[in-house]
């Protein structure tokens, strides 16, 4: 039992978070678990984006497009070739990862600025590109995906644990996303704390110095792109399954924006950040429009406009404010707040965790 008492405190926090998320569907309605499934999906793709932006210092404004690639892989495989939906998730991840790898090769030659330009353009043209091969993607109509039924073992296990009705497909989807999120967060955690992660951080903080220290800059940069796209592909595939419908309009430019906002607000260069980011990106538009609707003093006309404009105004303002005042995002704020509290309590400054870039502006 000694390892339990000696475990670093953050392990306890992680365990607590995992337990809360594992028990979530037993406490909320079936529909709400689907909403939280989408939160986890956003958290996964933002984790991928974080690996790319926060750790390797490259930028992508096109992760919505990569999600689209994953979602359409699953949709086409399920709809046209009748492959089991579970098998399509890793296929979507790998295919999108390859795509990201291919994007990463020209990206090698580009500075961060040009990369932002190129991926921005990619995000803008994605909806029109999807519409073209119509016999494959069914054009603007989109593809319907039937909600997957939970397997018997999961259903009966769920019923025994909760003592209630059998598992719904929404709850099954939630657990799929939950499992994927745990695996992918664990993988990311391991990557950034070991050799590849250190190489990526070295590249981010000084490319020439990294190359001089024997880091294969080109290799790691493309790897970061491929890996990031792999995350986006898995998330996109799950997103298609969760929403049950993919169409060109499912993946607008604003999705790519929202993902970047989530990554920045959650905290670049942190493992917990993407979870905050996912929660934020999913709930902010919903919460803000619900809030406006419940306020009776706001006239209807303004409320309907706010539903469209509100999220972008909030997104934009938050992006700017966070970049100016808290470049490490929510995760950074919490960590520095915690460190300050501890030093206040103990009277001495203690070293904070080594995950964040020492100078926030290096991001």
């Amino acid at each position: 039992m000694r390892f339990l008492t000696r475990a670093p405190r953050r392990y306890w926090v992680v365990a607590l978070v995992v337990i809360v998320f594992a028990g979530l569907p037993t406490q909320v309605t079936s529909f709400q678990s689907l909403e939280w499934a989408e939160v986890l999906i956003f958290a996964i793709v933002i984790m991928g984006l974080n690996l790319l932006v926060g750790y390797s210092g490259q930028i992508s404004l096109g992760h919505g497009a990569l999600m689209a690639a994953g979602a359409y892989t699953t949709a086409i495989l399920v709809h046209r070739y009748h492959i089991g939906y579970l098998a399509t998730v890793p296929i979507a991840g790998v295919l999108t990862g390859l795509l990201g790898f291919l994007i990463g090769i020209p990206a090698l030659r580009l500075s961060a600025l040009y990369l932002a330009l190129a991926t921005f353009a990619l995000a803008v043209i994605t909806p029109s590109l999807i519409k073209r091969p119509e016999n494959l993607t069914q054009g603007v109509q989109g593809i319907l995906l039937p909600p997957p039924d939970p397997p018997d073992w999961a259903s009966s296990l769920f019923a025994t644990v909760t003592g209630g009705p059998a598992m719904t497909s929404d709850q099954w989807l939630y657990y799929l996303c939950f499992a994927a999120a745990i695996i992918l967060f664990w993988v990311a955690w391991n990557i950034v704390r070991r050799r590849p992660g250190r190489a990526l951080i070295a590249i981010r903080d000084g490319e020439v110095a990294a190359a001089a220290s024997g880091v294969n800059v080109a290799g790691y940069k493309t790897l970061a792109f491929g890996l990031s796209a792999f995350y986006a592909g898995i998330a996109g595939s799950l997103y298609g399954l969760a929403t049950g419908f993919v169409s060109p309009d499912t993946f607008p430019l604003s999705l790519s924006f929202g993902l970047l906002v989530g990554a920045v607000i959650g905290g670049l260069g942190s493992i917990a950040g993407p979870l905050f980011g996912g929660i934020f990106t999913f709930w902010l538009p919903i919460m803000s429009s619900q809030f406006v609707q419940t306020q009776s003093w706001i006239p209807d006309q303004v409320a309907s406009v706010f539903r469209n404009a509100g999220p972008s105004v909030t997104y934009g303002a938050l992006l700017i404010l966070i970049m100016i005042f808290a470049p490490n995002g929510l995760a950074g704020l919490i960590l520095s707040g915690y460190a300050r509290l501890r030093s206040r309590l103990r009277g001495v400054g203690e070293r904070t965790t080594g995950q964040l870039p020492p100078d926030p502006q290096t991001v």
Partner: protein, 293 residues
């Protein structure tokens, strides 16, 4: 042949619009090594201001200079309030900030003016006149004329005035300029104001062709990116040439390449961006970036 000429001519007209916006991008790139992702949205907002002014009964030719002046002031205010705090931050931070600015302005425009597409008045009629056997509309000719005037004015300002010299110096070597008494920070702000004003012209020119709505510039900015990248992102002249080439190429591709029409014309611009970045990252007129590696 006649139809071909006509397509080229209307390509030049849209090219003039792209060139103005690309020039705005180049001005800011030169001032601080940054591509301003909010340039299109700033232009869109200015166009809405012009629309409101005209809606209140002002004549087009009075509303135009007022809007340009407002855009100039707006650009300076944005630089002072939003960009200055992160001026020395790495480029990634700056890109994210301008993206935030783009989203913010887009949302504000939706909030203030609504999302219904509005038809924007044009002082030029759509009647056509015969040039070399091709029927050119007065609107296209007017757009070409206005863009040309703007580009020449910017050229004169930058190359023939002391202020322009100071602005170029501040961008080229901030430290040395500061030692010589140039107020570098204000020169950057002026650069933003100038870019914003030039961008506003492109917005006002494009609004009668597309319809005015908050997302109007989303496609135009991609063409402007393509123009700036093609011309070499630090070269004002390159931006103009790039704009014209992009305008004509996209128009011809839309007319003659089967399957490329409507929204897929954007893909042509995307292909131009990728091709230039992979084959010749410095563009047509840009300096070759030398990197120590």
């Amino acid at each position: 042949m006649q139809e071909f000429l006509q397509q080229v001519l209307s390509g030049i007209a849209s090219g003039g619009i792209y060139a103005s916006l690309a020039l705005a991008l180049v001005l800011i790139y030169n001032a601080m090594g940054l591509v301003n992702f909010a340039q299109g949205e700033m232009a869109m907002f200015a166009t809405f201001l012009a629309f409101t002014l005209i809606g209140h009964g002002l004549s087009y030719w009075i509303a135009l200079p007022i809007t340009i002046a407002l855009a100039f002031i707006g650009g300076i205010v944005i630089q002072r309030v939003v960009i200055r705090p992160v001026e020395r931050a790495p480029v990634l931070t700056l890109v994210i900030v301008t993206l935030g600015l783009a989203t913010l302005i887009n949302g504000l425009a939706g909030f203030l003016f609504g999302y219904l597409p509005q038809s924007f008045p044009s002082p030029f009629s759509v009647q056509t006149v015969n040039i070399l056997g091709a029927a050119a509309s007065y609107r296209d000719l007017g757009v070409i004329g206005v863009s040309a005037v703007v580009l020449v004015l910017v050229y004169l300002l930058l190359q023939r005035t002391t202020l322009g010299l100071a602005m170029r110096a501040a961008a080229f070597h901030p430290e040395a300029s500061r030692l010589l008494g140039v107020r570098v920070s204000w020169m950057l702000a002026l650069g933003w104001g100038l870019a914003s004003a030039v961008g506003a012209v492109s917005g006002i020119m494009v609004a009668p062709i597309l319809l005015l709505e908050p997302n109007m510039m989303q496609t135009v900015i991609i063409y402007a990116f393509a123009s700036a990248v093609l011309g070499g992102i630090e070269s004002p002249l390159g931006a103009v040439i790039g704009g014209l080439i992009v305008g004509v190429t996209v128009n011809l591709a839309g007319a003659y390449v089967p399957g490329v029409g409507g929204d897929l014309q954007l893909a042509v611009a995307f292909a131009i961006i990728i091709a230039v970045l992979v084959l010749r990252p410095s563009g047509l007129l840009g300096r070759r970036a030398v990197r120590r590696a």
